[in-house]
Amino acid sequence: MTGSTMVEALNLALHQAMDADDRVIVLGEDVAKTGGVFRVTQGLLDRFGKDRIIDTPLAEAGIVGSAIGMAIYGLLPVVEIQFDAFVYPGFEQIVVHAARYAWRTQGQVPASIVIRIPFGGGVRAPELHSDSPEALFCHVPGLKVVCPTTPRDARDMLLAAIEDPDPVVFMEPKRIYRAGRQEVPEELPFEFGNSNGEASALLSTARTAREGSDLAILTYGSTVPLSVEAADHLAADRGIETKVVDLRSLFPLDVDAIVSAAQECGRVLVVHEAPRSGGLGAEVSSLVHERAMLDLEAPVLRVTGFDVPFPQFANEDDYIPSVDRILQGAYRVLDF
């Protein structure tokens, strides 16, 4: 096996950031001694010691709130939320404080924190270990919300998020954590602490995961590989070439990439795992229609999770958009 999994890539990013800047510290539940329940923070304790990576008491508002204080003081804290749905006790601190600190301080004191959230289903976990809460943060001005789907992006974007002065909600699709490997070069993607905008570009642009010009699938997170798979089927079965756009930056969105993919392809499908109503897909679909309706040959459709609580795991595959459901959605857009 060559290359790194996403977990390893994230781990590398943390090592590199902490190496490059001693203001970077990591805190969360069970992150130090065990290396986190997903082992993303493994090895940091040995390497950087207990003043740089800290096991906290079990209290998400306390964790996020103290991280905000640390950021004000001048540190660059990286917070781990153990699982998606456990971010809610810290919600107030994120939306009322982290998101507004720059705004309240003449732009001088942004809450420079990164909040890492492993999210989404597909790992056969008990209730509340499989939520996709990202859309809630994408309605909160002042936050940046990003989501990598490849090991390389995971490393580069985490470094960028740590360097970025604004609070970044960093969504990690746990279904991809160990799903595949990719070569991640040792060298940094930009000069840490002195990046000339490369870092912020990494946090504000979409990535083309697959080229094509007959159909555009706009997606992010765990459904990116599924969409690529569906695209491959479309090519094999129907000779249709599908562009798959991995949004990466969920808020603010890369509007240009979204609109130009729609213009190029004329047919668009939006895919995500979160419930449909009020999901990010609604924003993406609206943007496309608002700005490129005349280029469209069919309405933008959405293949998403349903408007239900994430199901108990025996039925999670009925909930998560499958390759088959994506294909079916694609056919509906293509055959319109």
């Binding site: 539940e29 069970d30 001694k33 065990t34 290396g35 329940v37 997903f38 082992r39 096991d55 008491p57 079990l58 209290a59 998400e60 508002a61 306390g62 153990q82 749905a85 456990f86 809610y88 006790p89 597909g122 790992v123 056969r124 976990a125 008990p126 209730e127 509340l128 270990h129 746990k174 279904r175 991809i176 954590y177 160990r178 799903a179 595949g180 590989p225 599924l226 798979e229 349903f306 408007d307 239900v308 609580p309 199901p311 108990q312 795991f313 025996a314 039925n315 999670e316 595959d317 009925d318 909930y319 998560i320 499958s322 390759v323 088959d324 459901r325 079916q328």
Partner: protein, 370 residues
């Protein structure tokens, strides 16, 4: 540990105390039966997880006294609110054990959940500490309605760090609700020892912030758990307000089946605490009392085992819920049109998803459930 309420001795240097008033021989045997039933469930569940027949499981081996002992002290009309750690407590109130097993197998709808009001037993609560205000709410409602009904919530010492614990303690003390805050201090919250969870030496001290009475008991001693809970419930129902109970013990097992405690603690310590586990000491105590002999105990164990074996069969013959289950009970009465399209979409893709989840087995072993 000298300040811990303890009834059962060790048959050697630690003497037995008298059986508390209110517990007859039958009660003692029944309570033993409860302990054994919980243990049988727990051991079987661990085995099922190892065999891949259920998912990640949060075992409670050694903590049966904190559950059965306290529950036995309550009236049927009292309400209980378990965390994931007391996941199977409902079986002592009539919830079929197969339902709890089905929950761990990932079933929802009517097969994996139960009716909380019917059993006066809250759903298994996964997010830490957030069920505690519900126990305040039920006992508060009872008080407002002039009904003498108590509520009990179980939670770990880690849960005391969450804001919801604090807000619930404060509400209960201000409104003098008949709430029993039952904290199982097993000294670990996943990898975090109690000494890094709080600056106080005990959990009980936290009650001082609410002018609330507190008591520390030996969490391995079912009769001590019974006694403390009985006193608290009686006082609460009489209008005396809430109580914090700290059941001091040790998390002998792993946090859950996906957890590897060797990463963060010396497992020989856990080994030492094993001898305190409640089933052995309760059986010896009952033998010393002449209430239950070895063959009687064996019979109870055998019956419990059979009950759980039957439950496993029932779980495994319960069909996996159909895809419709994901739309069940989102609302008390689902708006009929709301899920029609989704159902249609799912049905029209026909067969269940054939693509194998990308990394299920791998992740499964790495992550902590609950």
């Amino acid at each position: 540990m000298g300040d811990l309420l303890r009834i059962i001795g060790n048959g050697k240097d630690v003497p037995d105390h008298p059986v508390p008033d209110g517990l007859g021989d039958k009660d003692l045997i029944e309570l033993y039966r409860w302990l054994v039933l919980l243990r049988s469930f727990d051991e079987r569940a661990v085995a099922l997880q190892r065999q891949g027949r259920i998912g990640t499981y949060a075992l409670y081996w050694g903590e049966e006294a904190t559950q059965a002992g306290s529950l036995y002290a309550l009236e049927e009309t009292d309400w209980i609110f378990p965390s994931y750690r007391q996941n199977s407590i409902g079986i002592l109130r009539g919830v079929p054990p197969s339902v709890i097993l089905a929950w761990w197998r990932g079933y929802g709808g009517n097969t994996g959940f139960y009716d909380t009001r019917h059993f006066r037993t809250g759903p298994i609560c996964v997010p830490i500490g957030t069920h505690i205000p519900h126990a305040v709410g039920t006992s508060w409602a009872a008080k407002l309605r002039g009904e003498r009904t108590a509520s009990l919530a179980w939670f770990g010492e880690g849960a005391t760090s969450e804001g919801d614990f604090h807000e619930a303690m404060n509400f209960a003390s201000v409104f003098k609700t008949a709430t029993i805050f039952f904290c199982t201090n097993n000294q670990w919250a996943i990898s975090t020892p109690v000494s890094q969870q709080m600056a106080t030496k005990t959990v009980a001290e936290k009650a001082l912030a609410y002018a609330m009475p507190a008591v520390r008991v030996d969490g391995f001693d079912p009769l001590a758990c019974w006694k403390a809970t009985k006193d608290a419930a009686d006082r609460g129902r009489a209008g005396g307000g809430p109580t914090l109970i700290e059941a001091f013990c040790y998390r002998i097992g792993a946090h859950g089946t996906a957890d590897d405690p060797r990463l963060y603690r010396d497992e020989s310590e856990a080994e030492k605490w094993k001898s305190h586990e409640p089933l052995g000491s309760m059986a010896s105590f009952l033998e010393r009392l002449g209430v239950l002999d070895a063959s009687g105990a064996e019979k109870i164990r055998h019956e419990a085992k059979q009950t759980i074996i039957d439950a496993v069969t029932e779980m495994e013959t319960t069909p996996t819920p159909g895809l419709e289950v994901i739309f069940d009970n989102v609302y008390a009465k689902n708006p009929p049109w709301m899920f029609a399209e989704g159902l249609e979409e799912l049905r029209s893709v026909g067969q269940r998803e054939l693509v194998k989840p990308l990394n299920a087995p791998d992740t499964q072993t790495e992550e902590e459930g609950a």
